[in-house]
Amino acid sequence: MTTSKKTYREAVKDALCQEMERDETVVQIGEDLRGGHAGTNPDLETKKVEAFGGVLGVTKGLWTQFGSERVIDTPITESAIIGMAAGAALTGLRPVAELMFMDFFGVCYDALYNQAAKFRYMFGGKARTPMVMRGMIGAGFSAAAQHSQSPYNVFAAVPGLKVVVPSNAYDAKGLLIQAIRDDDPVVFCEHKTLYDTKAEVPDEPYAIPFGVANYTRQGTDVTVIALSAMVGAANDAADRLAAEGISVEVVDPRTVSPLDEEGILESVAATGRVVVVDESAARCGFGHDVAALIATKAFDSLRAPVELVTPPHTPVPFSPKLEKAWLPDAARIETAIRRLVAN
């Protein structure tokens, strides 16, 4: 299998493209996935120009390859986008709906929360809803309070949904391919600050199974559990501490739901000390979920309090200086680790 250096953005596109090639029932639905419908530039028609290819260019090229029937630009109408995707998934398609920014789930959540997620159960097992809702999460772009959130904790609380939060280009491709092939509704969260990060990514399609954590770094003193952009921050902290002889294990669960409970508990059993880093929320977040897992199931191996590193209980501020202080970073993770090893 050949590989090449690809950005996270390219990895996502790769997955979308290869699954569309493989399976005719895969369609993309969203706003400005192409861009330019009913535009005035004559090139749009004559040269088949894609005016956007997604706001941040993630879907660029797909419309050219697959056309308007499979790369479906819509009005600004998220509740119809997600509802339509859910209905289409019930009836023979594998739609991938783009929400652009996950912050927008507030205008369309019913279609996912009360509909797609619950069909199978409510209908006594007689439905499959193979849809993906993908969109951007994360702070760091000064996009302010309504364009910087990471509500994967909210999605993970919903039985029936699967929730995927890749931290690097390799995982992004493999997990998105799995998401599209999966027969359950999947929420796929792309961190906007990761789009330009690169990794070696196989050119061929491959699927990474859900619920299998990735030990991005092995260590013996402290376990750090981190997702998405926080994995990089955790590894930076671990790098710094390695010089001092503190050995940190960094576990990236990759999927919030299902969660690799065993993988997490195993690592905690070995180290007895754990830092959970989470961008989702200061209350009722993913971090609390993992901390609760540990408090209920790994208590006996714990040698110190669980350390939780989250943003404060405030909206995401606009000003870069405040936003930087809002976001968990390597320095805060390092402090937490030091507190633990001193314990």
């Binding site: 479906i72 009005p75 509740s79 509802g83 289409a88 019930l90 009836t91 739609p95 299902p258």
Partner: protein, 321 residues
């Protein structure tokens, strides 16, 4: 277009089954043995049946909290429905859904839906599938006058026009959303005209008249199958029972309800209008009798059936997890 004898009898049977089902449920509910909320469809039979008689098993419908009529019209098994409503394992959803979530995808029924305004966007999804897979299918969504005010309904309409989807938006205007009159809650003079302004053909029909509903749907379905895009049909009818079982109906008088039952009964209107050469009074009465028997049997079986085993609590959340 004139229907033949077989078609007429089949349509009447469906309406008759709905009536028997709902009126019997009203009685059964009084025993206290039925869990949860029940919303009865009696009075609106001509809408569900007039629409669904134009649909194939491979076409899809989205429904509402008041979904029993849609289910029967689309061909759901009546015994399975009744068992579901009683919360039994034999139910169409193995007791996990209940009255407000009866579904059977194998006959194109996408589920009753307890979220007002939930169906239209799901139904355009089914229409998208049909269009993309080029299988000649179409979809219909049922929404009440109340649900016609939800943003989700409007968005689905605009999307359907933009993508030229093969869908029929059926608005069942029964004069009330819960206890609130349509004239209060719908600011516009006209639900159909509101839909038309989204850029699609929209018609108003008498929803107590099977023949009117059937003909309007026939035209809409034909247009949809031919790639002509969406249509809205506003059908005016009345519900004969309260909003839900237990509703004291203070918003109207018992005399008014009695008058509606006398003058606006879709079954009676069918009997009055049908070509007696094709469907005799005797035949129709026999159908009514059979419907009541079928429903009686469904009740007996449902009552006798077992509740789901406790292990089922944890099954069917995911295909795999």
């Amino acid at each position: 277009m004139a229907l033949n004898k077989q078609e007429l009898l089949r349509a009447y049977r469906r309406m008759s089954e709905i009536r028997a089902f709902e009126d019997r449920l009203h009685e059964e509910n009084a025993t206290g043995d039925i869990p949860g909320f029940i919303h009865l469809y009696s009075g609106q039979e001509a809408i569900a049946v007039g629409v669904c008689e134009n649909l194939r098993d491979t076409d899809y419908i989205g429904s509402t909290h008041r979904g029993h009529g849609h289910c029967i019209a689309k061909g759901c098994d009546i015994r399975g429905m009744m068992a579901e409503i009683f919360g039994k394992d034999d139910g169409l959803c193995h007791g996990k859904g209940g009255s407000m979530h009866i579904a059977d995808l194998s006959v194109g029924m996408l589920g009753a839906n307890a979220i007002v305004g939930g169906a239209p966007s799901l139904a355009i999804g089914a229409a998208l599938s049909a269009k993309t897979l080029r299988n000649g299918g179409i979809a219909a969504s049922f929404t009440g006058d109340g649900g016609s005010n939800q943003g989700t309904t409007f968005e689905a309409m605009n999307m359907a026009v933009v993508l030229r989807l093969p869908i029929i938006f059926v608005i069942e205007n029964n004069g009330f959303g819960e206890a609130t009159g349509t004239e209060y809650a719908v600011g516009a003079p006209d639900i159909a005209a509101r839909a038309a302004a989204f850029g699609m053909p929209a018609v108003k029909v008498d929803g107590t008249d099977f023949f009117e509903v059937h003909e309007a749907t026939r035209q809409a379905a034909e247009r949809a199958r031919d790639g002509g895009g969406p249509t809205t049909i506003e059908a005016r009818a009345n519900r004969f029972w309260g909003h839900f079982e237990g509703d004291a109906q203070l918003y109207r008088t018992p005399e008014q309800v009695a008058e509606l039952r006398r003058t606006r009964d879709p079954l009676q209107i069918f009997r009055d209008r049908v070509d007696r050469k094709k469907a005799t009074a005797r035949e129709l009465e026999a159908i009514d009798e059979e419907s009541r028997e079928l429903v009686g049997d469904a009740v007996a079986r449902a009552r006798a059936a077992a509740y789901p085993p406790i292990e089922n609590l944890l099954t069917d959340v995911y295909v795999s997890y």
